[in-house]
């Protein structure tokens, strides 16, 4: 998701700041679910205090935070709980987290309008005020309850670590004791939230809420769902994109022990059995004849060839400052380069899967659910229900990197169509094998970039022409209208069209050819390729100008203090300029994505056999207020490592329309022995509103490594994965 078209509505909706009195900010608030606090509890129901849609407090002192965002590794559950617990003044151990149901009325992503979903590194940014308000409101109602009970003024009451206290009379109570009374309090129209200097949890290290379950094997992922009568479905998919089932013979599949059903669905043929392995045996025994009349049959080489031809002509303009054409003519010297990027699979550790139960009452889904509102709508249309009849249970996702927010709801719809094909006679767990997952498409698109820049006599860049060629991720999706403007899909050019370097004559244009390969956002989206191009090309210009890469960038970043800030910090911590031994090199890259600024300095060693290793990476990040510093560090480490896979080794290639890779032996990803042995993360201290960290750690590593290899060897790199000439 691109930030440029998503409106920050959190302030408007929740904040009307009044003068602070006695510490904190007085805010008047609207929070969904508030009305429920005053609703009479059903007789016999356990007493709980549920002041709004995000907090529930039980008589046992447990504070349950209802997380509207998916936990797919980025620490959202911990982050959202931190915000609530901070304002509630809860003790961290008493807080637990529960995934919210699908209900955009209460749980929408405030940066996306009336849509519930997780992505674009927005979880923290859009929730920062909403979750704090939710905690502050609950706290105020607990305080009011205690004030009533003890017959003391509310402002004489303090709350700390889950204990409500009136010092003068030495009375105190845990939250649990106050639950019943708190639930009867009128909902205040205004509450105080803390000033940053009052934070006790924000900015400190709180243990991850999912740490224990994910360490002892009890965390439940979609793959682990058990339901009475559940059948596992394994699907035979066509060998080429766009092919369909012509006919199939289930005779041999039916002979596999236990196979319960074999059904045709729009995306292939599904075999159902009680366990995965038997279903897979059945699937493998199927013989299917495919109709390939509309199948996509090009290979990666032909696609790249087509893109190169297209790149000779101007595309749709994404940015135009001054007159680059003219300036190039006048330039003292010009530099040209072209770059190639392959398709990439997300290859989350948990292959895609989804559980669907269809019955007379509606549809219930269990999924590592990243895109509630679009998935609800798609499934409802497919099975003939209203969206609100599609209930979604959001489970942990074993990684996603964007894949589980599929604009076509592909695998979710596939699961629903299987449940429908067997008339809902059993709940269905669709399980993709690794091979299915790798070959299902929805890749980071293949891209071609062409650049030309001009320097003046003094070595200052005066012109920059950047052309991008690659499939549009958003065309044909529900997001096209909002995020494709004048033929420019923002997700194709982000990171290029808003590149920060001060160059007076600059154009960025785009071709978005149609290809039959399904494409999708992949962790950090456009920046996965634009950052590489901009940051290696600017390095090349620095060399052409005979300047130090950091000094060259610094001069061009005058108006971008946050870019400069992270760059200077990373350079300083990395010992920029200190000599390295023969065969070693240091490179830098700085890039903003999702309003978070990251610089990385990589140190590489080139070995005798021309292999190389990345030994050390120093990362500086500016993401505004650092809510959970340790999670920020973890995301920088992990994001960098994820980007390093693409830099060093991963590529999806097509031959005659068939995907050549199938599993981790040929779609190779970073392993432990390739992870730099030193990874340092430095967080810029900032009072700006917090921005996301799930994606921004990814983009800078590939260019930083390429620039380091250049420093070590003199070779420039125009392709990922990086290959050192022998």
């Amino acid at each position: 998701m691109d930030k440029t078209h998503l409106v920050d509505r959190s302030r408007r909706e929740f904040l009307k700041v009044s003068a602070a009195a006695g510490g904190g900010l007085l805010i008047s608030l609207y929070l969904p679910g508030c009305e429920r606090a005053e609703k009479a509890a059903a007789p016999g129901a356990p007493i709980v205090f549920e002041p709004n849609a995000f907090v529930r407090i039980g008589t046992d002192n447990t504070v349950t935070v209802i997380a509207k965002h998916l936990e797919m590794g980025q620490g959202t559950y911990t982050g959202l709980a931190t915000l609530v617990a901070e304002e509630l003044d809860a003790a961290w151990p008493q807080v637990q987290v529960e995934g919210a149901p699908a209900d955009a009325g209460r749980y929408s992503n405030l940066f996306w309008g009336p849509v519930q979903g997780t992505g674009g590194s927005t979880a923290m940014g859009n929730s920062f005020e909403q979750m704090r308000n939710a905690g502050a409101l609950a706290r105020q109602m607990l305080v009011n309850a205690a004030a009533g009970k003890w017959e003391v003024p509310a402002d004489a009451i303090t709350v700390r670590d889950g204990i409500v206290r009136h010092d003068a009379s030495k009375r105190e109570a845990g939250f649990g004791e106050l639950v019943e009374l708190a639930a009867q309090q009128p909902v205040p129209e205004t509450v105080f939230v803390k000033e940053p200097d009052e934070f006790r949890l924000i900015g400190t290290h709180v243990p991850r809420k999912d740490g224990k379950e994910k360490t002892n094997g009890t965390a439940i992922f979609t793959q682990d769902v058990k339901l009475p009568g559940l059948l596992t479905a394994v699907v035979a998919h066509p060998p080429r994109f766009g092919a369909t089932v012509k006919s199939f013979d289930a005779a041999r599949a039916g002979k596999v022990k236990g196979v319960v059903d074999v059904v045709a669905i729009p995306t292939g043929v599904a075999v159902l059995d009680k366990d995965f392995w038997s279903a897979k045996q059945g699937r493998d025994a199927l013989s299917v004849e495919w109709d390939e009349a509309k199948a996509f049959k090009l290979g990666s080489e032909e696609i790249m060839g087509e893109y190169k031809r297209l790149a000779a002509k101007p595309g749709a303009v994404a940015r135009k400052d001054g007159d680059a054409e003219q300036a190039l003519v006048k330039a003292a010297r010009t530099v040209e380069a072209a770059y190639e990027f392959p398709y990439l699979a997300h290859a989350a550790m948990e292959p895609m899967n989804c559980v669907v139960k269809l019955d007379a009452g509606g549809c219930e889904i269990w999924n590592g659910e990243q895109f509630q509102t679009p998935d609800q709508a798609a499934v409802a249309a497919a099975v003939g229900l209203k969206p609100e009849q599609v209930k979604i249970n959001m489970l942990y996702a074993g990684g996603s990197f964007g894949r589980r927010a599929n604009p076509q709801s592909d695998y979710v719809l596939e699961a629903a169509s299987i449940a429908k094909a067997i008339q809902g006679k059993a709940p269905v767990k669709l399980v993709w094998t690794r091979e299915d997952d790798m070959r299902a498409g929805y890749y980071r698109p293949l891209y071609y970039h062409r650049l030309k820049a001009g320097l003046d006599q003094a070595g200052n860049p005066v012109a920059w022409q950047h052309r991008v060629v690659g499939q549009s991720i958003l065309r044909g999706t529900a997001f096209e209208q909002a995020m494709v403007k004048q033929g420019v899909d923002e997700t194709s050019v982000e990171g290029a069209s808003n590149m920060p370097y001060a160059i007076p004559n600059l154009t960025v244009d785009l071709h978005s050819p149609e290809m039959g390969v399904p494409v999708q956002w992949w962790r950090s989206v456009g920046s996965t390729h634009t950052a590489f191009v901009v940051e290696t090309f600017i390095d090349e210009l620095a060399a052409a100008a005979g300047k130090d890469p950091v000094a060259f960038r610094r001069a061009l970043l005058k108006d971008h203090p946050r870019h400069r800030g992270v760059m200077e910090l990373a350079a300083e911590k990395a010992g920029w300029g200190k000599p390295l031994s023969e065969g070693r090199g240091r490179g830098i890259a700085v890039h903003e994505s999702f309003n978070t600024y990251v610089a990385q300095v990589a140190e590489v060693s080139v070995h005798q056999d021309r292999s190389f290793s990345v030994d050390r990476v120093v990362i500086a990040v500016d993401c505004g207020v650092a809510v959970n510093p340790d999670i920020i560090r973890a995301q920088m480490e992990g994001g960098m490592g994820f980007g390093l896979s693409a830099a060093l080794t991963s590529a999806i290639t097509l031959k005659d329309g068939r995907v050549e890779q199938s599993n981790f032996h040929d779609y190779t990803v970073l392993r432990l022995d390739q992870m730099p042995s030193v990874v340092e993360v430095h967080i810029v201290s900032s009072a700006e509103p917090p921005t996301g960290v799930g994606e921004p750690g990814v983009p800078p590593i590939a260019p930083a490594v390429a620039n380091a290899l250049y420093a070590a060897t003199g070779q420039r790199f125009y392709q990922l994965p990086l290959q050192l000439k022998t």
Partner: protein, 151 residues
Amino acid sequence: MIQLKINGTTHELDVDPNMPLLWAIRDVVGLTGTKYGCGLSLCGACTVHIDGQAERSCVTPVSAAQGKAITTIEGLDSKVARAVQSAWEKLDVVQCGYCQSGQIMSAVSMLARNPRPTDDDINTAMSGNICRCATYVRIRAAIKDAARALA
């Protein structure tokens, strides 16, 4: 009938002898802590201990595991395992968590044999376990932390 001794309990399973142990553990016995990631011994998500050795259950037919002591993440209960799990928690190693059962099973098996692993030992023992979230820095640190705690 196949007899499997998993975490000290014997289970009688009416399954094909070729069924990989992974699916017997997950879909028949119902222990879901052991994960499927590749099915080809490429990722380590399915790692269990068979007679104390880390093995990939996705390529181990149940027939080959009969009569042996199988331990899954749910059955870990040694001093080494406790040290590893508490180091994992202390350093907040996990992200999505899906690979972590396998990581921990590999780490425990290594530390049980080699209480003071070098960086190279860790690379050798752990490079068969993929983590797409790239939690590798913390995996290394947690193994060292556990080794220190056990020393």
